[in-house]
């Protein structure tokens, strides 16, 4: 059974995805659950800890199959993270799974002190991140998690953009002896094209070009890829596309190479423009003495327009058409 074509927001963008021969994937959240189940079958130290969130985390089947490897704490995110750190200190490999909006800030002090400062190998899994819960409103958006967590030491930060990156992130988190944060969206997307490297901490170059570079993360990468094709086909602009699934540690080499070789750099993220991927890249590039034309695409400093994730993406130009237009304006 092949998955239905994911929505790329416009017939033109969907057509573009088809012309690139992209394969529909499953939701990254599903890939998270499937990967964790495979790992947990083999490693009995693995525990999923949930806060009335197993359904939202697609862990229903996991819980059925491995009832001894799931711990439920109820709707209590601070307790969730504290309990996870305690379990980890006793040799358990813990995945604390909760909506990103609550996990990253409700439990921020537990993350800072109990997980990161105490250096416990806890994998913090932020589900339905960004504006995945679009129409549920601002309480349910996590447009602040990169910013909050980048300000905390000793925490790897990952935002997978497709199924391969999702698997990579979870396998890495299971191996890691230190804290890891991974945020997942729940929209089914396309698998990104194969890249030379697929490693945590290494940017994935999906496409080459030297007029412009899109450096994108998470569920925005696919739209940057379509925009790059749009720019090539209709405007003879050659665009490099980098999937930056790891926000920390940042792959400075690939970023600086793009900033050196391309006339302009556009970062794209499902996050507020402050404190996320864009400012991380800007800080790196500026301090290296490089001055490409630069734009941060994300959610501006306002409460988002209301609507579903697709409405919000489109509204703020995180779409093939929107990104293509931003690129042309920046290069003009």
């Amino acid at each position: 059974m092949s998955a239905p074509a994911p929505s790329m927001f416009s017939p033109q963008a969907s057509e573009m995805a088809k012309s690139l021969g992209l394969k529909p994937g499953k939701a990254n959240l599903e890939q998270f659950a499937d990967t964790l189940t495979l790992l947990a079958r083999k490693d009995r130290r693995i525990l999923a800890v949930t806060s009335d969130s197993r359904g939202s985390g697609k862990l229903g089947p996991y819980g059925q199959e491995l009832p001894d490897q799931i711990v439920e704490v109820g709707i209590a995110e601070q307790n969730l993270v504290g309990v996870a750190a305690g379990l980890a200190s006793c040799g358990k490999k813990v995945f604390a799974v909760s909506p990103a909006c609550f996990l990253a800030t409700r439990a921020l002090e537990q993350i800072k002190n109990d997980v990161c400062y105490s250096d416990m190998p806890v994998a913090l899994i932020g589900i339905s991140a960004g504006v995945s819960y679009g129409a549920l409103g601002t309480t349910h958006h996590s447009l602040h998690d990169f910013a909050a967590l980048r300000a905390i030491n000793n925490l790897s930060i990952l935002a997978p953009g497709d199924n391969a990156e999702s698997r990579l992130a979870i396998e890495y988190a299971a191996r890691s002896e230190h804290p890891v944060y991974v945020r997942f969206g729940k929209a089914p997307l396309y698998d990104l094209p194969a890249s030379e490297s697929l490693q945590v901490g290494q940017a994935r170059v999906l496409r080459n070009g030297s007029d412009l570079a899109f450096i994108a993360t998470g569920e925005t990468v696919i739209h940057a890829l379509l925009a790059a094709e749009h720019l090539a086909v209709f405007h003879q602009i050659q665009t490099r596309v980098i999937s930056l699934h790891t926000l920390r540690p940042l792959d400075s080499e690939s970023i600086l190479q793009a900033a050196r070789q391309c006339r302009a750099v556009i970062t794209v993220e499902e996050h507020m423009v402050h404190g996320g991927l864009g400012e991380a890249v800007a800080g790196l590039v500026l301090q290296s003495g490089l001055k490409p034309r630069f734009r941060i695409v994300g959610i501006p400093d306002e409460y988002t327009v209301t609507g579903a994730q697709a409405d919000i993406f489109r509204h703020y130009g995180i779409s093939m058409e929107g990104l293509s237009q931003t690129a042309r304006q920046l290069l003009a």
Binding site: T50, S51, D52, S53, R54, G55, S56, E72, V73, G74, I75, A76, E77, Q78, N79, C101, F102, R106, Y133, A135, L136, G137, T138, T139, H140, V305, T306, G307, A308, D311, H315
Partner: protein, 279 residues
């Protein structure tokens, strides 16, 4: 306007119809919890709360804070019926650019706080009740909590401070439907015995049938003996629609067209029975 119990019962049926239609139209919503708390909102807004749709920010108004914000459809339907805005706006629920998102927001007239992250409402309520005391005002504050929500420790921090400040003008109502997303609250993270917990925190507890208009009214209006009051309202999630009642998946289940028609038929029947006086 004063209503008889029977008239309010009929209103509840009408509210349930509107809630289901709004959710089906939006293709999203929290069905079960809206249906379990709507009788409480009905009594609050039509009998108890001193609020004025023409002046929704009157400083002397009673405060209603819906901490279990996900049951927003019940709130939006009742506020519309009370005249805070036009009923037809509910058709924009969850749509692009609509103020009517999936949780309470202050962009909607009559809504006090932007709730939806659970475990915030009671602290907000303590703040309002404390301000009322400080200003020698006589408005009262009502907070609606979910039973699953009570796992958030912040509730108990708030409960402690409310008793400490002897906030006899603060009423918490627990929508005790015994279900949350994952299943039965007693299986997820048991919080029973609830009444003894609230009592131990210094609250007066009143346990009622949360679908009985008379009992809800009595519990909401009886004066306090000097402490904050917690009403444990025993309810059924999905109340009023047989195939939704006490069934976990209707927490955020959205009825199909066929299910909506079946539900509306049941509710029409209930309405007709009330009208003809069979009940």
């Amino acid at each position: 306007m004063t209503y008889t119990d029977k008239q309010l019962q009929m209103k509840s049926v009408e509210y349930r119809r509107r809630i289901l239609k709004a959710i089906a139209h939006a293709g999203a919503g929290h069905t079960g919890g809206s249906l379990s708390c709507v009788d409480i909102l009905n009594v609050l807004y039509n009998r108890v709360l001193r609020v004025d749709p023409a002046n929704p920010t009157d400083p002397t108004r009673d405060r209603y804070i819906q901490s279990k914000g996900h049951s927003v459809e019940a709130l939006f339907v009742v506020l519309a019926d009370r005249g805070f805005y036009d009923q037809s706006l509910l058709e924009t629920l969850c749509q692009y650019r609509s103020h009517f998102v999936g949780h309470p927001t202050r962009k909607v007239p009559g809504v006090e706080f932007n709730t939806g992250a659970l475990g915030h409402g009671l602290s907000l309520g303590v703040g309002c009740a404390l301000a009322s005391k400080k200003d020698l005002a006589d408005f009262r504050t009502y907070v609606l909590l979910g039973d699953g929500e009570l796992a958030e420790g912040s509730n108990w921090e708030a409960a402690m401070s409310a008793a400490h400040y002897r906030l006899d003008n603060l009423i918490a109502i627990v929508d005790h439907n015994t279900l949350q997303i994952t299943g039965r609250t007693r299986d997820v993270c048991s919080n029973e015995p609830l009444d003894e917990k609230w009592q131990a925190f210094g609250w007066e507890v009143r346990t009622i049938d949360g679908h009985c208009i008379a009992q809800i009214t009595e519990a909401l209006t009886r004066p306090s003996k000097g402490s904050p009051v917690c009403i444990i309202a025993n309810t059924r999630k999905g109340k009023g629609v047989s195939f939704m009642e006490d069934v976990g998946k209707w927490h955020h289940g959205v009825p199909t067209d066929k299910e909506l028609q079946m539900a509306l038929q049941e509710l029409d029947l209930a309405f007709a029975e009330l009208e003809s006086g069979v009940n």
